[in-house]
């Protein structure tokens, strides 16, 4: 095998790509087909059904047969659903590589959604400041991302200052942030945003492909990848996760780096929250319930090691995609929804066992080469 090709096979995410391709092929093969109506975009931008006349001469909607998995709508939906989790998973990757854990992301997602929604409602069509929607969008974005960053800063500061295990601090933070969101909203759903905001986040190209969440995810992935692989700050995260004491002895400001990863993780949750309120047009304190576990699962499936020092941005995004493919696969294959948690839980365990096996095989290969 040529050296370049071998290098590609050693590329650490290639295994995840193979899994994704295999999953895609399986879903395509077993999904079966569905007849969907054909739409046409009129000159004024509205979508309308296309009609035809059948054998009996009656006017009926034109339909075409599509694979249930491998069709543009489904893939667009998959991409969108993956984006939210994947964006948070990139932040989580940083935390996990540093040897920590962040259970607050789901709650930060809810609190940031609520904060952004409250500001956006103020500037919405029914709000008192309906005349300046652009200012509202900026302030709403700022509130959403600002609150998320502050939450990350708060967890990070407590972890560093109190020297308590991040599991404990973020377990507490998880309840506190969601509690704040609940108190602020009194359990009500917050909606009615400036129309321009929703239109921007929901803008589609082609046949229903929502590009904003996907593009945001790609940007976050790219920034995360550069951060971890090219920046000194990223190297420091790996060093701290690998051996905190040696990192300290090398003059790395361990506390500062640790604080940083929780801030970034909070910010990522804020970005996901901003997209979600734009997409769904409302926020409640119950949003993002259980997301922390999906995000951690994505990171772990994507090869981030909970003992620290190992993982990559691309890996966790692919991990998020695998988890999302499985949960949407359950719907497509018509498996009873009630089984989805059991299946995803098993996949997480299986992925980690597989990863351990792979590490063991690599070690054995090295031995055999000697």
């Amino acid at each position: 095998m040529p050296a370049r090709l071998r290098a590609l096979f050693r590329f650490q995410e290639s295994g995840l790509l193979l899994v994704i391709l295999a999953l895609g092929a399986l879903l395509t093969a077993f999904a079966g087909t569905v007849r969907t109506p054909v739409f046409e975009r009129a000159a004024d931008g509205t979508r309308a059904r296309v009609y035809t006349t059948d054998a009996a001469g009656e006017r009926v909607p034109l339909t075409i047969e599509k694979n249930k998995f491998l069709n543009v709508q489904n893939l667009a939906q998959l991409a969108k659903d993956t984006s939210f989790i994947a964006i948070m998973a990139v932040g989580m990757a940083l935390v996990i590589i540093s040897g920590g854990i962040d259970l607050t992301v789901g709650s930060i997602y809810a609190l940031a959604s609520v904060a952004g929604a409250l500001v956006l409602r103020h500037f919405g069509a029914e709000g008192p400041a309906a005349t300046s929607p652009v200012l509202g969008i900026f302030l709403g974005t700022g509130a959403c991302l600002g609150v998320a960053t502050l939450c990350g800063l708060a967890s990070g500061s407590l972890i560093v200052a109190l020297r308590v295990h991040p599991f404990i601090i973020t377990l507490g933070g998880m309840a506190i942030y969601r509690g704040i969101a609940f108190v602020v909203t009194e359990g009500q759903s917050i909606g009615s945003f400036p129309a321009a905001f929703r239109e921007f986040v929901r803008c589609e190209v082609g046949d229903g492909l929502g590009v904003v969440p996907l593009a945001t995810m790609i940007v976050v992935l790219f920034v995360g990848w550069i951060f971890l692989s090219r920046l000194a700050a990223g190297r420091r995260i790996y060093a701290i996760g690998g051996n905190e004491l040696a990192a300290r002895f090398s003059g790395i400001r361990v506390e500062r780096v640790k604080l940083g990863v929780y801030v970034i993780s909070g910010l990522c949750a804020g970005i996901a929250a901003l997209l979600s309120i734009g997409y769904y047009g409302a926020a409640t304190s119950g949003d993002g319930q259980g997301y922390e576990l999906n995000v951690i699962a994505a990171a772990v499936v994507g090869g981030a090691s909970l003992t620290g020092g190992r993982g990559s941005a691309l890996g966790v995004v692919l991990g998020a995609l695998i988890i999302q493919m499985i949960s949407s696969g359950i719907v497509i294959l018509g498996i009873n929804q009630n089984y989805s948690q059991i299946i995803i839980g098993s996949v997480v365990i299986f992925a980690v066992v597989l990863d351990n096996l792979n590490t063991w095989l690599a070690k054995r290969r090295l031995t055999a080469a000697a």
Binding site: L231, R235, Y238, A239, L245, F249, S250, T367, A370
Partner: protein, 497 residues
């Protein structure tokens, strides 16, 4: 028929053939030394016997019968026990609980505390160890913990005890106690496999000696029919000549590092020291005298330290690693696996870790500069690694130590604090490290070297400071160097006339 026989043992690890067809025999009731450089395979052979590793091929025979110690438990049932270098117990449990962990005495399902204590006392008494069975094992010194390990081995009816570098972190008194115990066990008919670097103790203690080199069996001889010089030649495969470091003849430069009244409550008091450019100053003392604490305090790792420290004639704010680094200090710590290296990172990343701020532009690591710098120091130190991208955990101890040194050379410090420069390093790599330290001094660096090995300090330094119980006990100029003079200062005896 030999009591214990290894037949064509082969064992591979990632990147190395650790043992290559090794065959040897051991007589009953003897102390058999395994010696060799780091990576020679001596520890591996001991661990295969004790069931920690399993050989890829080959046979072990006890009394002519093939045995398979595939796990430590299986080995124990065959009467083989091992005394480890590293912690072998649960540090939070008591001595008694650790000793009986495999078979806790129970009464109606509850642990029988008095039976537990009695059994532990009996086990400890069998090796003459005076240790309270109720204290947590984590509070014992390494030497006393080893006694507990030996007690456990003898108590389980072990016929063969493998000791892996037992004296590497023992004080002189503890070492003497251990030797006495080894001789007594031998007299009781136990067979000991003694793995060590330290030639002098092998000649004092062992009956036979097996030399391994690069995983191959080189020689097995009776101690009486060989000499230390011959064994060294067998170990390294070439003649080793003593040499005088070149830096001793050079002019000294200005004072690089000076400290007055350096005090850290509970560790050391009122330590003065100064190191000039081009000088290697040794810091001697028995374990616990406060040597490592002093260099760590200089490097900003001790928040409680007081006193005045000047680097390049500028005052240094104590208690901050950042300040120490900015002033031009570097510390090669005592324990490279815990403090010196991130073993999961590769050689390039470890070498660049301390120099990262110098290799960064707009937050980005300058990859070409990083590759050049790290490769240059790896080459200078002759690090043996398949590539700079290889994970550091896979290197031998000597090569890991070279990476730990290269890391601070890459940072280009004016003053290097080096704590145990050659701990767990083989003879060949040792000579290379001494050569390097000499070159650094000739280039005008100031070096403060802490070491437990007196010959190392004597062969390397221009001056030696001796610490005792947290205070400076004395200072020896090069002309007055001798092991006897150092030991007297270390032990607090009046200098011999």
């Amino acid at each position: 028929m030999p009591f214990l026989e290894f037949r064509q043992i082969t064992k591979r690890f990632p990147g190395v053939l650790a043992l290559d067809n090794v065959s040897l025999t051991v007589e009953r009731g003897t102390c058999h030394a395994l010696i060799g450089e780091n990576g020679a395979g001596k520890s591996t052979l001991g661990k295969i016997l004790a069931g920690v590793y399993t050989a890829d091929s080959g046979q072990i025979l006890i009394g002519g019968r093939p045995v398979a110690p595939t796990t430590p438990l299986a080995a124990r049932e065959l009467g083989i026990a091992m005394v480890h270098q590293e912690l072998a117990f649960c540090p939070n449990l008591s001595v008694a609980e650790n000793l009986c962990l495999g078979d806790l005495p129970r009464r109606r399902g509850f642990i029988d505390r008095s039976a537990l204590r009695a059994r532990a006392r009996a086990l400890l008494a069998a090796v003459g160890a005076d240790i309270d069975p109720d204290i947590p094992i984590g509070t014992l010194s390494t030497g006393r913990e080893q006694l507990v390990q030996i007690a456990a081995a003898v108590g389980t009816g072990a016929q063969i005890i493998v000791m892996d570098e037992p004296t590497s972190s023992l004080s002189a008194a503890e070492t003497a106690d251990l030797f006495r115990l080894v001789r007594e066990l031998k007299a009781r008919g136990l067979t000991l496999i003694y793995v060590s670097h330290r030639l002098e103790e092998l000649f004092a203690l062992c009956d036979h000696i097996t030399v391994l080199r690069d995983g191959r069996h080189i020689a097995t001889e009776a101690i009486a029919s060989t000499t230390p010089a011959r064994v060294v030649t067998q170990m390294i495969g070439r003649e080793l000549r003593a040499h005088t470091p070149a830096h001793l003849t050079r002019e000294l430069g200005p004072v690089r590092l000076s400290a007055t009244a350096l005090t850290s409550p509970g560790h050391f008091t009122n330590i003065p020291l100064s190191v000039r450019a081009g000088e290697i100053v040794g810091l001697a003392g028995i374990v616990g005298a406060g040597r490592s604490e002093v260099v760590q305090a200089l490097f900003g790792l001790d928040p409680a330290v007081t006193g005045e420290v000047r680097v390049n004639d500028r005052p240094l704010a104590l208690g901050s690693i950042e300040q120490a680094l900015a002033a031009g200090l570097g510390l090669v710590p005592e324990d490279r696996k815990r403090q010196g290296l991130v073993l999961g990172l590769n050689c390039r990343e470890n070498t660049a870790l301390a120099a990262l701020p110098l290799l960064t532009r707009f937050g980005f690591v300058r990859r070409a500069a990083e590759a050049t710098l790290t490769a240059r120091y790896a080459m200078r130190l002759r690090v043996k690694t398949p590539s700079m991208e290889a994970i550091t955990a896979g290197l031998s101890g000597g090569n890991q130590q070279k990476i730990a040194l290269a890391k601070w050379l890459a940072r280009d410090c004016d003053v290097l604090l080096i704590d145990e420069p050659t701990r767990g390093v083989d003879v060949g790599a040792k000579a290379e490290i001494y050569q390097l330290l000499d070159e650094l001094a000739c280039e005008g660096k100031a070096l403060l070297v802490v070491s437990s090995e007196l010959p190392e300090l004597i062969g390397l330094c221009r001056r030696i400071l001796v610490m005792r119980q947290g205070a400076l006990a004395g200072e020896l100029p090069h002309a007055a160097f001798s092991e006897a003079a150092l030991m007297q200062l270390m032990a607090g005896l009046p200098a011999a006339a």
